[in-house]
């Protein structure tokens, strides 16, 4: 139970961090009318769920929940494939 709560808090923290960085960059870009901060803000938002999956994967392995750790690793693999495919365009 304590492990679950700790993992929940870690996921919350990484999501909050990703959203804060993304929102700050987007606001900066919109206020200054510049595209570079907007681009990086969108990238920060897209990477937020990826960072969340990384935290969940590590958390699952740390608490020896192997089945769900492997499932989470599979999700990370799909996201990595998506990033690699996007780099080929």
């Amino acid at each position: 139970m304590r492990d679950t709560l700790r993992l929940d808090r870690a996921v919350e923290a990484v999501l909050t961090l990703g959203l804060t960085i993304g929102a700050l960059l987007l606001l900066t870009g919109l206020i200054l009318g510049q595209l570079a901060p907007l681009r990086w803000g969108i990238v920060a938002l897209m990477l937020t769920p990826v960072a969340r999956v990384v935290v969940v994967t590590v958390g699952m392995f740390l608490r020896r929940d192997l089945i769900f750790g492997v499932l989470s690793l599979g999700i990370l693999l799909v996201l990595a494939t998506s990033i690699l495919v996007s780099l080929r365009f």
């Binding site: 996921v11 919350e12 959203l19 993304g22 987007l26 870009g29 919109l30 990238v43 769900f68 996201l79």
Partner: protein
């Protein structure tokens, strides 16, 4: 960027984020029709903007729902494998289907989901005896000051619907909650609040799997998407907090109404 004012786009993002977060849908199901029909954005640009908005909604709502213990992380992980594969395939194949085929197929799916949801709105997926084993993918939930137990049923159906939901998310930018929440709640034994919160937790990853593809193709209109995403963040946080105050049956009835309404609009567009 379209001619719509940034404030209008921020307001649109806020409204769709609020409703999407409240119902566990992500908001894309409203955003794509609004962007294409109301301000004339090209459909691919609307889908890409919607995917980013879904990521923002999902991430913001999850921070609230995790605190309240409404997210079933194990169930989410099991289904996320199927949705992320679907999302990736949907993103890659999005250029192969015509708009008409997409709209008609989506409209028919939503109609069926809306009817199922309305017919099963009085169903309660909770067990009063909390000493029973909830199983690997079940859990416990607090309602009205009491703790209840629920068990996940029909996992193959949940996985198949998650794969389809992921593919639809990649093709139409709608997040996929519109398929997952009704199926989990009506057939798989998951209480509506847990289904909505777990779906919201998952759809950020599903949307990200396709969003990278749209980003790589250069189909993201940066100012338009940024204005919508900025509105989505506070809207989602408000929606997630409000969901606690709405009765479970009311949530199902609202969702059935929304499903049928959007299905009608999609079918009109496709036929």
């Amino acid at each position: 960027m379209t001619l719509a004012s940034p404030w209008f786009l921020v307001s649109m993002g806020m409204a769709t984020g609020l409703i999407g977060s409240l119902l566990g849908l992500g908001g894309g199901v409203f955003l794509v029709p609004l962007l294409t029909l109301a301000i004339g954005a090209p459909i691919r640009v609307a889908i890409a903007a919607s995917l980013i908005s879904v990521i923002a909604t999902a991430s913001a709502s999850a921070t609230v729902n995790l605190k309240r213990g409404l997210v079933n992380m194990r169930l989410g992980l099991a289904l996320e494998v199927a949705t992320s594969i679907g999302g990736l395939l949907g993103g890659i194949t999005s250029s192969l289907l015509s708009h008409r085929q997409l709209f008609v197929g989506f409209g028919l799916t939503l109609s069926a989901m809306g009817i199922v949801m309305a017919a099963r709105s009085s169903r309660r997926n909770i067990i009063a005896d909390v000493d029973l084993d909830p199983g690997l993918l079940g859990g416990r939930i607090e309602e009205g000051g009491r703790t209840y137990l629920y068990r996940a049923k029909r996992l193959p159906l949940a996985l198949c619907s998650s794969l389809v939901a992921g593919a639809i998310s990649g093709l139409l930018g709608v997040g996929g909650g519109i398929i997952k929440v009704p199926v989990l709640s009506a057939f798989c034994g998951i209480p509506i609040r847990v289904a909505a919160s777990t779906s919201t937790f998952m759809i950020g990853v599903t949307a990200a799997a396709s969003a990278f593809i749209y980003f790589g193709r250069g189909q993201i209109d940066l100012p338009l998407t940024a204005a919508i995403a900025i509105g989505t963040l506070p809207g989602s946080l408000i929606g997630a907090r409000l969901s606690d105050k709405v009765h479970a049956r009311s949530l199902k009835v609202i969702m059935a109404f929304v499903l049928i309404l959007v299905a009608g609009r999609m079918l009109m567009e496709g036929l």
